[in-house]
Symmetry: C2
Subunit: 387 residues, 2 copies
C-alpha cells in the first residue's frame, strides 16, 4: 500500500505517506527502510520547508524492476517492456499469433523476451515476470476456456504453465480489457480512490474495471464483458450464445461487413478486421457521408453499451481504449461522451470524465506489464488472478 | 477485519482468526482482548481437541450493539431493529411516507425509533445509529438529488442532517438496492470473498453490488442502476431521461399498466404499484394464461437486465430481492435463472448461484441496519457513504 502511494504520488515525504495511508509514522518509517534496503525506493532530496525541518522526499526507483507484457491481438501481437515507474522502455509489434499453434506461439513470446532483455541490456534477475493478455474469457490459472472464434485452437491449452517453462519466469494471464484498466492506473496518474471503466474495442468489445487501485475481475475473471450485453432482444445471434449483443450488432466485425456491403473499399478482404476497421475510420475522418454513416451506426450502439457500463459501475472516468479506437477514437468519442453525459443516471449528482486513451494500440500490452508490476508491489490486487 | 471474520464464522478460535486474516497471533490476541473489553466479542467455551490444547472459541456478542433501519418504499415504510449478530429483533411496517412532507416523515421515523427502543427495552447507548434507505439516486452526504417520480418533494431536503437532529444518532443514507446487498452479506452467511449482485425490484429496478464484503457504490453512490440500461434503443422514454430502459419497458409500473389494459382486475386503481403488482403475481400463480403472459413479458426483460448485470460484474451469486419479488419471485426466478445460466459469458468457466432472497419485503430495511452495523465494525467499507 505504501509503495502504491509512493508510485502514485511520484515524490512524497514520510509524513505525507502517514497521512495518506492512515498508518503511524513509525510503521511508515519501518516499511520505507525495508523498501530502500530492497532498492525499490530511493530518497531524492528534500521538499520545500514548511517552517520546520525540510522533509526527505521518496520516489520509486524505476530501474529496480521490469516487466514484460504481451498482447495477443487478432491483427497483431504487441510487446512492451516496462519499468517499475510504469514507463515504457521498449515496445514493438509483430504479426498475429492467434492462428499459430499455441506451442509455437509460446516459443515466439519466449524468443521476443530473450531478445529485448539482450537489446536493452537488462539484468534478467530484475524481471518480475511476464503478463500475457488476450480477448476473454480466460481462466487466469489454467488458460483459455471459451475462446472467441479467432482463438478456438487455444482452448484447454495450458498456456500459463508452458510459458512459465519457456521463460523461467512467473506468468500472469488476463483479459486484455482488464489489463488495460491496470495499465491506465499504473501510467496515467489515476487517483488511488478513483473508479475507472475502460471500454476496450479490438476485434470485440470488452471493459476493464478498476476501483481504488484494484482491478475487478469478478468471481471467475470475466467481469466487464460489456460487448455481450443485449441491446436488441430480437437481434442476431452472437458467437457467445446470447442474442442481440452490442458486439454482434455494432462491433468492428459487423461494421466492416456493413461497410463492404455498402461498396466501401477497405482493401484486401483477407486483412484483419481491426486493420479494415482502421481503414474505414480513415475514410470516415475524410468526411465521406457514406463512410460516416456506417461508423455512426456503430458509434450509437457503442454509446448505448458505454451508458450501461456507466449506470452499473458509476465511474469517475470512462476511457475509450484498444486497437480499434486507435484511428476511430475521434469519431466515437463525441458520440459516446454526449450520450453518456446526457443520459447517465447520476448526471445531476456527480461529474464524469470521458476520454480517449493516449496509449493507442499498446494499451493492453502495457497493462499486461502493469499487472505483473502490481503483483510484485501490491499483491492483494492479484489474488483472484492467481487463484 | 477481525470482527468481520468472527461475525462471518459465527464461532472461531484465535488461531483460526490468524489463519483467516494473515495477521500474526500476537496481533490477533491484542485486538481480540480489546474487542472483549469493549463487550463486542465473548468467549463461548472450547472447540474440539485437535491433539493439543483445546482452543477457546469466540463469537460476536449480539446484544452489544443495535441498529435501526428504515426503508422508504412507494407502497409502505418498513422498519427493522437488528442486533450486532445480524438478527432481526423486531420488524414492522406502516403506510408510505414518500408523499408526506419530508419534515413530517423525519418526525415519524424518529417516533418509530423511540417507540421500539421503549418496547424492546434497549439501552439507547447501545444504538449505533439509523440507516435510512430509499430508491436512488441519493447523494449519501446531503440527501436526495434526483428523485424518482414518487419522491419529487424530497429533492434538496437535508434529510441526513434533520434526521440526526431528530434522533440524536448518526444517520446513514443509502440506496435501497445497495443496502440490500449489505444486508444479505450480514445475515445470509455470504463468504467474505464472494462477489454478490442483488437485483432489487420495488416500484423500480436497481441492483446492489458487493465484493469481498464491501458494497460498491461507485464514484457518486449511484452504481447498480440496472433498471436504466437500454434494452431497446427505439424504446419509450424513461423518467430518468434515457430511452428504452428495462424499468420503463418491463418494471412493475408498465407491467401493471399492461395488465389493466388487458382487462385484468388488480383492485383499487389508487393502490400502490407494488401492491397491484403483487395482486397480478397472485393471479398469475393461479395459472391464468392471460395473467401469466403479462408477467412473462416482464420476466423476459428482467432476465435480460440480469444477464447484463452478470456479464458486467461476474458474480458468484445473483439474488432476486425487494418487495416486488415478495409474491412474484417464484414466477421470475426460473426465467431469470435459465436465461442467465444459458447465456452468460462465463458459463463454461465458473458456476453461478441464482436465488430468491429469503427476507422478502424487509430486505432493504434490514440492509439499512446492516450498513450501520458495518460502519461501526468495519469502517473502511463506508468511506464513500460518509464522504
Amino acid at each position: 500500500m505504501i509503495l502504491d502511494v509512493i508510485r502514485a504520488s511520484r515524490t512524497v515525504s514520510r509524513v505525507e505517506l502517514a497521512d495518506a495511508t492512515g498508518l503511524t509514522q513509525a510503521t511508515v518509517s519501518t516499511v520505507v527502510r525495508k523498501l530502500i534496503d530492497e532498492g525499490l525506493v530511493v530518497e531524492v532530496g528534500r521538499g520545500a520547508s514548511t517552517g520546520g525541518k525540510r522533509r526527505t522526499l521518496l520516489q520509486i526507483e524505476p530501474t529496480a524492476r521490469y516487466a514484460f507484457g504481451a498482447q495477443l491481438g487478432s491483427d497483431a501481437t504487441t510487446f512492451v517492456l516496462a519499468d517499475l515507474g510504469g514507463a515504457t522502455v521498449s515496445r514493438w509489434r509483430r504479426g498475429p499469433l492467434m492462428k499459430v499453434a499455441p506451442d509455437q506461439a509460446v516459443a515466439v513470446v519466449a524468443d521476443e523476451l530473450d531478445g529485448i532483455v539482450e537489446r536493452a541490456a537488462i539484468d534478467r534477475a530484475k524481471l518480475s515476470g511476464v503478463g500475457l493478455v488476450a480477448p476473454g474469457p480466460l481462466l487466469a490459472a489454467t488458460g483459455i476456456v471459451l475462446a472467441p472464434p479467432s482463438m478456438r485452437g487455444w482452448v484447454d491449452f495450458p498456456l500459463r504453465e508452458r510459458l512459465e517453462q519457456a521463460t523461467n519466469l512467473p506468468v500472469l494471464l488476463d483479459n486484455d480489457a482488464t489489463a488495460t484498466a491496470a495499465g491506465l492506473y499504473w501510467t496515467d496518474g489515476i487517483a488511488p480512490k478513483a473508479t475507472l471503466a475502460a471500454l476496450f474495442m479490438g476485434q470485440g468489445i470488452g471493459a476493464g474495471l478498476l476501483y481504488g487501485g484494484q482491478v475487478h475481475r469478478g468471481a471467475g475473471g470475466n467481469a466487464g464483458e460489456i460487448g455481450h450485453i443485449t441491446v436488441d432482444v430480437d437481434g442476431p445471434e452472437c458467437w457467445c450464445g446470447n442474442r442481440g449483443c452490442v458486439e454482434a450488432i455494432a462491433g468492428p466485425v459487423p461494421t466492416v461487413e456493413r461497410a463492404r456491403e455498402a461498396g466501401i473499399d477497405l482493401g484486401d478482404p483477407e486483412r484483419s478486421v481491426v486493420a479494415a476497421f482502421g481503414q474505414l475510420a480513415r475514410l470516415a475522418l475524410g468526411g465521406d457521408p457514406k463512410d460516416l454513416e456506417v461508423v455512426g451506426t456503430s458509434a450509437r450502439y457503442v454509446a448505448v453499451a458505454a451508458h450501461t457500463l456507466v449506470n452499473v459501475i458509476d465511474p469517475d472516468l470512462l476511457v475509450l481504449t484498444g486497437p480499434a479506437f486507435a484511428v476511430a477514437g475521434p469519431l466515437y468519442l463525441p458520440v459516446v461522451a454526449n450520450h453518456v453525459m446526457a443520459r447517465r443516471f447520476a448526471r445531476h449528482s456527480t461529474s464524469i470524465d470521458v476520454r480517449l486513451s493516449t496509449h493507442g494500440p499498446e494499451a493492453a500490452a502495457l497493462g499486461a506489464a502493469a499487472l505483473v508490476l502490481q503483483a510484485e508491489l501490491a499483491p492483494r490486487g492479484t489474488e483472484q488472478a492467481q487463484a
